[in-house]
Amino acid sequence: MISAYLEFIRIRFLMMLAYRVNYYSGIIIYAINIGAYYFMWKAIYGEAETLAGFTVIQMTTYVAVSWMARAFYFNNLDREISNDIRDGSVAVQMTRPYSYLMVKMMQGFGEGLFRLLLFMVPGMVIVTLIFPVTLPTDPVRWIIFFVMIWFSFLINSQLNILTGLFAFFVENNEGLMRMKRVTVDLLSGVVVPIAFFPEWARIVLQWLPFQAITYLPGSVFTGRLNGAETWNALLVQVVWFAVLILPILAMWRAARQRLFVQGG
């Protein structure tokens, strides 16, 4: 059974490899994104040494690493699932002897793995050469960081699956998917670290899963979280991963009961 799932990772990886145009344009676009945010933050800092506890160098590192992490955890599972539901092919997939949601997860992982190896690694090398970033020197921090972005991937994919499964219950979840995308980008801390939010918003965000996607791993990587705080951050991720399984299972169960294939 496991080998079947591994096969899905492999196939998706190879599929990504086949679309070269996407790959090259993706690299360029991520570079521009990081560059644009770098200059924007430089303008925001102006003369200031630190803002919200971030030094300029920490901020640059944070921007670079959070975009790189995004390359790994980002996927379009929500769209894929909702397309499967809307064109009815989910019904066929359900009859197959594997877990549909696990397969989706594996495909997302294949995609993430592709971007990690061919995007993140070369991208990070280029970024460290161009921009003033400081990488952690402690190997343990690197290991924890990679464990944490693994959980970023899991949590983000879980949110995607939840959004995608809504297609079972509403005729059109296009708006919902778009809403989810902007929400994740803003509240997870890719565009602005959560430390910059006003006090009340920070308190609210502590109770939401989004910070676990970008802000926590980014904070560990930039050295803003140390020692016990690191383990706390990891714990928050693990808890969210476990908690999010429940609504997915509930929705999946309810969905199978009321599945009706439109058109078909």
């Binding site: 145009v21 993706g26 560059g35 644009a36 924007m40 102006g46 778009r178 910059f196 939010f197 006003p198």
Partner: protein
């Protein structure tokens, strides 16, 4: 003659659109809300940033918000008429292009009309409101010709977007890969709405002459701003619009000539 024919088609399509939307009324509102959420998120970003700094470059908060309002107007009009997000998937891979090509109206006009999305225009109205509020806050003088200039500028900006996205969509005629470029491009276009002066030469050049997103935001909006008025760049907006629009149309027409059917 041909124009009039297309406009009549537009009326017909709009009528059909309204009829289908009335069946899925909830969708309509979800879409409007998700559009507005998207803008709200971006405004939140601006507000958060200005909590930590009095100015971005030498642009004040109200000025940046003003530019954003302008951007929303252009963006809303553009998304109403040009919805080419899943062009490659729907028309090339699934083969709907064959159906379009058997009809007398111009293929691009048909594809645009089939995907017309009037709810986006509500975003334009909100943008107009935001621009108006910022206008009052900045105490700008109001000249009789300002509304006319605004319309010309918006048309120019919309042409730029339409031209660029038509070109990108037309890539699907040449390569089989589903162009993931379009969603990625979406990231870059957002940088045109921030003061261009904060970026370095490379990105400024890119946003002005290569992917002229700065003409959908900061340049045309600066026409109305007294402190940052850059009349030359502002008046280039309609010119660049015509050029980019023409390029889009040419690439599209050539692509259609090359198109050989989905083969399935």
């Amino acid at each position: 003659m041909r124009m009039r024919y297309t406009f009549e088609l537009f009326r017909e399509y709009l009528g059909n659109y309204i009829k289908t939307k009335l069946t899925y009324r909830a969708d309509f509102w979800v879409e409007v809300v998700s559009d507005l959420m998207f803008s709200l998120m971006n405004l939140i970003f601006i507000f958060i940033v200005f909590q930590h700094t009095p100015s971005l470059g030498d642009w004040s908060e109200a000025e940046v918000v003003f530019v954003y309002g302008y951007f929303m107007i252009a963006q809303g009009v553009f998304s109403c008429f040009t919805n080419l997000w899943n062009f490659g998937d729907r028309y090339i891979i699934k083969g709907e292009m064959d159906r379009v090509l058997t009809r007398p109206a111009h293929s691009l006009a048909q594809v645009m009309l089939e995907n017309v999305d009037p709810p986006s225009l509500i975003g334009s109205l909100v943008g107009l409101g935001i621009m108006g509020a910022a206008w009052a806050k900045l105490g700008l003088t109001f000249n009789w010709y300002d509304p006319i200039v605004l319309i010309v500028m918006v048309i120019g900006s919309v042409l730029i977007y339409t031209g660029l996205y038509t070109t990108l969509a037309a890539i699907s005629f040449y390569s089989d890969s589903p162009t993931g470029i379009i969603p990625l491009m979406y990231n870059i276009q957002s940088y045109g709405r921030y003061p261009i002066q904060i970026y370095n030469k490379g990105i400024r050049f890119l946003l002005t002459w290569v992917l002229p997103f700065a003409f959908v935001g900061v340049y045309p909006a600066s026409f109305f701003l007294e402190r940052h008025a850059d009349r030359t760049m502002a008046w280039l907006t309609p010119v660049v619009g015509l050029i980019v629009g023409a390029i889009g149309l040419i690439v599209w027409n050539r692509g259609v000539k090359r198109y050989r059917g989905a083969g399935s």
